[in-house]
Amino acid sequence: MAALQLHGTERMPHLARATTRILVIDDDVCVSTAIQAILARHQYHTALASRAHAGIYAFQASQFDVVMIDLFMPGMNGLDTISRIRSKSAVPIIAMSGFRLRNSLDPDQDFLGMAILRGATISLRKPFSPAQLVAAIDRSLGLASSTESTMQ
């Protein structure tokens, strides 16, 4: 499927980042392409999926170190996608959404909070800056290794 395109740069193999693979699941290809462009400049490998099902398929078919998931997608939504991936793997998940709250009158209905409850590692509110993006990736990798070490 065209939804899955593998892309990467091998410019600086001495960096740990060069072997880090990130899966971006977002129905807005403009957003995932921008994320890919930024991450490529920071020597990260990225794969893009424009549908939740394509993303889950890609996740099962290949190895990824971080998964970024948009919460609003047609078909399966991001929250369910997080649950599905979390049920199979401890991979760090970054949840992305423009809307933090479901309802401005009910602060308990927090989408990004719900994403964390479903197992997302970090939440990232759109629109985010390149620095926030890279920091989120780095943090999720750090968090993942620290949770791994505490689990051992």
Binding site: D27, D28, C30, V31, T33, A34, I35, A37, I38, R41, L71, F72, M73, P74, G75, M76, N77, G78, L79, D80, G98, F99, R100, L101, R102, N103, S104, L105, F111, R125, K126, P127, F128, S129, P130, A131, L133
Partner: protein, 210 residues
């Protein structure tokens, strides 16, 4: 689940209201105003939702370009003006992003995440469709908004905010009959066939001038 169903067949809802609009009573106007409020919220939230993607992409690109703008220098002169423009583009993008945050906080996201994106597109499609099929009528409507007196504009804004004749009259501190006659004149000036038409025109005007 009933709210979901309501939202899902929203466009056909409006059509229904249009047909029944001939004998527009108070109840009808109340119902239409409610529809209007909901429609404005839906359209607003859909637009906000659609805006978020391009804005995210823009912020990423501009941020990265700014970070590296020192690198593509040629002469000191072009570098200066380039950097100024990059900085300006960055500031404008940040301004837009701040607005987007406000909008995202103001509008409620559609209730059901799994249908939110699809619904948003539906509303957008419905909106552009209804604008293109009635393009001329709509354009004429927008032009004739200029004919309204300040008083009539006030009446129209109360109607489009969801006020009944009584509520509007109380807010404007005039009699309900006076309010009603203002409203009738607004309808005549705008060429609204019925109350439904009026509310829809107010909605379009509001959206157009948003």
């Amino acid at each position: 689940m009933t709210r979901k169903e309501n939202r899902a067949d929203y466009p056909s809802h409006l059509k229904q209201v249009d047909r029944g609009g001939q004998q527009a009573g108070e109840l009808e106007v109340d119902r239409l105003s409610l529809e209007r409020t909901r429609a404005a919220n839906e359209v607003g939230s859909a637009i906000a939702h659609q805006l978020n993607g391009p804005l995210t992409a823009l912020r990423l690109y501009i941020g990265e370009i700014r970070q590296n703008s020192g690198r593509f220098r040629e002469t000191a002169e072009t570098q200066d003006s380039m950097q100024q423009m990059v900085e300006a583009a960055f500031q404008e993008t940040e301004r837009l992003c701040a607005m987007m945050r406000l909008i995202a906080d103001t509008f409620e996201e559609p209730l059901y995440p799994e249908t939110a994106a699809a619904l948003g597109r539906d509303v957008i499609n419905w909106w552009s469709r209804s604008n293109s099929t009635e393009g001329n009528v709509h354009a004429a409507g927008v032009a004739s908004f200029a004919l309204l007196t300040p008083r009539e504009r006030e009446v129209l804004s109360y109607v489009s905010q969801g006020c009944s004749n009584k509520q509007g009259a109380i807010r404007m501190q005039i009699g309900p009959r006076t309010f009603e006659s203002h409203r009738a004149r607004v309808m005549r000036k705008l060429g609204a066939k019925n109350a439904a038409d009026l509310v829809r025109m107010a909605l379009c005007e509001k959206v157009v001038t948003l």
